[in-house]
């Protein structure tokens, strides 16, 4: 597979914090338009991996190419400008934001704004804002979140917060979405809503890299998964095959239970 076809190419990626190994020798490739899963027990380095891709951590070694562009030394906002949107494991950071404002934040690469612009071209900017609000309202409506538009993010149930976060990423109209544990803390019915949101993003051709603990969720969405354990890449392949390997089961359940199976 050539770089033109791959949305994400990771080669020999390592991340260390003062000797503590968070990632070691991770290599995989995600073809454009695919949905790719990252699974593994807590502390395996899954979120660290996403943080490397979105530029929050600088890897100690290795290369990350996004649509052919090396991103390892780029600032986070310049990585997101390549068409990468990312969701967070928890949305507690933005609890003071209204849902509408939060999703508008996702439009950052479409809605140019500046202090001088708002001062000198206020009416024009206001028109632009209204137009962007309509775009965002459409996204919220399509994900069944329109009724929450004026609520404060922190006041909503966790499952809805997760969907709003996905809406923010979708509103960015990205080429690739990095989705961190979209189903954590959700109820069964909320999980179905999250699943539908992922489905509709995938159908519109967005490449998706998703971390999740829910195996049925991973099976349903991901063509290929990587299993991480203690910062290392344990297995790579189709979920049906990979999740039945004894070493993978052991990584999740520990030796005693795996033997019991």
């Amino acid at each position: 597979m050539t770089d033109q076809e791959a949305a994400l190419t990771i080669r020999n990626l390592s991340l260390r914090f003062r000797g503590l190994v968070a990632l070691e020798g991770v290599s995989f490739e995600v073809p454009a338009g695919a949905t790719f899963g990252i699974v593994g027990p807590n502390g395996a380095g899954k979120t660290a991996l996403l943080n490397c891709i979105s530029g929050i951590y600088r890897p100690s070694q290795g290369s990350i190419r996004v649509f052919g562009t090396e991103v390892v030394t780029r600032a986070p906002h310049r990585i997101s400008a390549l068409g990468i949107a990312r969701t967070f494991q928890s949305t507690e950071h933005f609890s003071e934001f209204s849902v509408l404002d939060y999703v508008l934040l996702g439009r950052i690469d479409h809605l140019r704004c500046s202090v001088t612009g708002s001062l000198l071209l206020w009416p024009a900017r206001q028109r632009l804002e209204r137009q962007e609000r309509r775009v965002v309202m459409d996204v919220l409506e399509s994900l069944g979140l329109a009724e929450h538009a004026s609520s404060r993010l922190g006041q909503l149930p966790y499952g809805i917060q997760k969907r709003v976060d996905i809406a923010r990423a979708v509103a960015a109209a990205p080429k690739m979405m990095l989705v961190d544990e979209p189903t954590s803390g959700t109820t069964t019915s909320e999980r179905e809503d999250v699943s539908r949101a992922i489905d509709s993003a995938a159908q519109s051709g967005i490449t998706i890299v998703v971390i999740d603990h829910d195996v049925s969720f991973v099976r349903r969405h991901c063509g290929t998964i990587v299993v991480m354990d203690s910062g290392r890449q344990l297995a790579l392949g189709a979920p049906v095959e990979v999740l039945q390997r004894p070493d993978v089961i052991e990584a999740f359940l520990g030796p005693s239970l795996a033997a019991g199976n």
């Binding site: 530029g55 929050i56 934040l105 900017r125 009724e147 609520s151 149930p157 803390g185 099976r219 089961i249």
Partner: protein
């Protein structure tokens, strides 16, 4: 947009109403201010002029601190920069015409803001605040030097403001001009904060890292906040120069800087009306008090009040500040602020506004015993201490935990823990496990979290207790921050008076700690830290030990060792234990009974044998081979 045509007529009317609702209060306020200026006596006029200038400066500061979350105490210095530039420019022939000195002040303020803001790219919080102090010292020094050099040691004299040949000395006219500047400031700053830039500032305030990941250029927006707000603050300084007619370096002191921080805290961080309300209170209250005391008779208490009015004012402020911070942390303006709430939402959203009650329906999810029917029929395993007569140690009924924002982390949880049992509470991220532990151990009331239901441990109601009181019965070993990195192991075990550390040293299950006795806890391995935390908890001898994620980040061998200690504490001391885990395997190593939690409620329970484990695991946690067959 299918909804648009239907809403069009309705929507535009709604928008008109919204405009009226938004604009009307400001117009009323403006008219009222003008009428007040016209009607006021000299004393009131002096006060109003000061309030207006302070409001402008506070609006600049509330932009920086309240909206962008950047702490600065360099604001007095920046006002000083504006004042000096105006004093100097007003004395020069060409650039003394209105509005050139004011514009020059704004530019000077922007440069100063940029300089103050540059350290902010690397440091934040209290360090940033201290770094802004550098400007404070510099301006005071440069100002007094310039005063000496120019032969005006008691301050630079400012040439009065002159517009189109009309000179404005102190009086009604000047105060009206100040009011016009306040109006302009409100308009401009509001339009910046209501549009995209406002969201960018909000994002860097909430979390710089998350904002960067979303795509916010944090460097640019932090500098924009410093530069923009400093321009506003410097204009306030410029107007201050015109108003007081003299610029003296002693004016722009640290005390002065802190006055504005008090203003925005009392009025409400980040709120423009709040900045004005704060200025009215901070400037107006002392004036009012002085007025009242001076009307009192010149004897007895009246005289005492008059001679001490300055100190009374200071004390009053301290008191007011405390009251606001404790009871109205969002500021006084927020308390009365009904009108700006909805202003930046498109009209069609208003109808959808959910009521408080619709956040989550209070439905009661039926607690299912384990999916496999065989499990419910199984008896609980014998407890080593109580044999066949199981005695309940803890009963938790209808526990609900509601955070300040309104989010419910625990939503009607019921659970019992037998005496001498080790119970595991399993569930995914965000299921409410840690909130449950923190509720039991008494940490939540201090965080203003609402608790409902009942938590009885050994007959004592723990709901609403402080952690210190609750720890007599139930003690938490938290997931993080369970040890003090700079204290040695020995020091840790001597924290609790009357419980000799030798006890711990003698315990075989705490043996690994003995080799580390004089080492700082920050150098311990994850497993040793966990042992140390357990040892400290054991010193307290609680009836119920609450352990949050003991396996996190531990190697399998270490997990096993910690599990052994938890079991030993139960076997030797009858200490019951509630373990919260995401690592199913680790939990099942120790547990006699397992609860599964999802979205704030218990959804299943059962013994931890293989069948139960599989059922629990299959239900939602980890690997489940499709169709139940590996």
């Amino acid at each position: 947009m299918p909804a648009a045509p239907a809403n069009l007529a309705d929507g535009s009317r709604a928008r008109e109403w919204l405009v009226v609702k938004t604009v009307a209060p400001w117009i009323i306020a403006a008219v009222a201010a003008v009428v007040l200026v016209e009607a006021s006596n000299a004393f009131l006029l002096l006060m109003i002029g000061t309030i207006v200038i302070y409001s402008i400066s506070a609006i600049g500061l509330t932009w920086l601190m309240g909206r962008a979350g950047l702490v600065s105490i360099g604001n007095a210095a920046i006002m000083g920069v504006g004042a000096y530039i105006t004093a100097i420019a007003s004395a020069k022939p060409v650039i003394s015409d209105f509005p050139i000195p004011i514009l020059l002040s704004a530019v000077g303020g922007m440069v100063a803001g940029l300089i103050v803001g540059l350290p902010g790219l690397r440091i934040r919080g209290i360090y940033l605040a201290i770094s802004t102090l550098a400007l404070q010292y510099f301006v005071t020094f440069a100002g007094s030097e310039y005063e000496q050099l120019s032969g005006q040691p008691s301050g630079l004299v400012v040439t009065p403001l002159s517009i189109a040949g009309h000179t404005f000395l102190y009086g009604r006219g000047l105060v009206l001009i100040l009011l016009a500047f306040l109006g302009l400031t409100v308009l401009l700053v509001r339009s910046v904060l209501r549009q995209g830039p406002g969201r960018m500032f909000g994002a860097i305030k909430e979390s710089e890292i998350a904002a960067a990941a979303i795509g916010v250029n944090t460097t640019r927006w932090k500098l924009a906040a410093f530069v923009g707000s400093s321009a506003v603050i410097a204009v306030a300084g410029s107007l201050f120069a015109y108003y007081t007619e003299v610029v003296d370096s002693a004016t722009f002191s640290l005390d002065f800087a802190i006055t504005f921080i008090v203003i925005i805290i009392i009025g409400g961080m980040g709120s423009i009306p709040g900045a004005i309300v704060g200025a009215v209170i901070v400037v107006g209250l002392p004036h009012l008090l002085t007025m009242v005391t001076s009307s009192l008779p010149q004897a007895g208490i009246g005289q005492w009040l008059q001679s001490n009015v300055f100190y009374i004012n200071e004390g009053l402020f301290g008191f007011l500040l405390l009251l606001v911070i404790i009871y109205q942390p969002d500021g006084l303006a927020a308390a009365t602020q009904a009108w700006p709430g909805l202003r930046h939402l498109p009209p069609r959203l208003k109808r959808h506004r959910p009521t408080a009650g619709s956040r989550r329906e209070p439905t009661v999810a039926p607690v299912t015993k384990c999916a496999a029917p065989a499990i419910t029929a199984m008896p609980r395993p014998d407890q080593p201490e109580s044999g066949d007569h199981r005695v309940q140690l803890a009963q938790i009924e209808g526990l609900a935990v509601t955070y300040r924002g309104g989010a419910r982390a625990v939503d009607g949880l019921n659970m019992t823990i037998d005496r001498g049992a080790i119970v595991a509470l399993l569930g995914r991220n965000g299921a409410g496990k840690t909130s449950t532990l923190r509720a039991i151990s008494g940490f939540l009331p201090a965080e203003r979290v609402r608790l409902e239901g009942s938590i009885r441990v050994a007959g004592h109601q723990l709901l609403g207790m402080t952690p210190v009181t609750a720890s007599k019965w139930a003690m938490l070993v938290p997931e993080t921050d369970k040890i003090f990195p700079s204290l040695t192991v020995e020091e840790h075990l001597r924290i609790r008076p009357g419980r000799p550390d030798a006890d711990v040293q003698e315990q075989p299950f705490f043996a690994p700690l003995r080799n580390r006795w004089h080492q700082r806890a920050g150098l311990l391995s994850g497993g040793e830290r966990q042992l140390l935390a357990l040892a400290m908890a054991w010193q307290q001898r609680p009836r119920l030990l609450l352990v949050d994620e003991f396996s996190l980040g531990l190697a399998p061998v270490a997990i096993q060792r910690v599990a052994e200690v938890i079991r030993a504490l139960r076997d030797d001391y009858g200490m019951s234990c509630l373990v919260v885990e995401q690592n199913v395997a680790a939990a099942l190593q120790v547990a006699d009974w397992v609860y599964l939690m999802e979205a704030g409620r218990i959804t299943a329970e059962g013994p931890p044998d293989t069948v139960a484990a599989e059922a629990l695991v299959g239900q939602s946690l980890l690997l489940q081979p499709e169709g139940g067959e590996p």
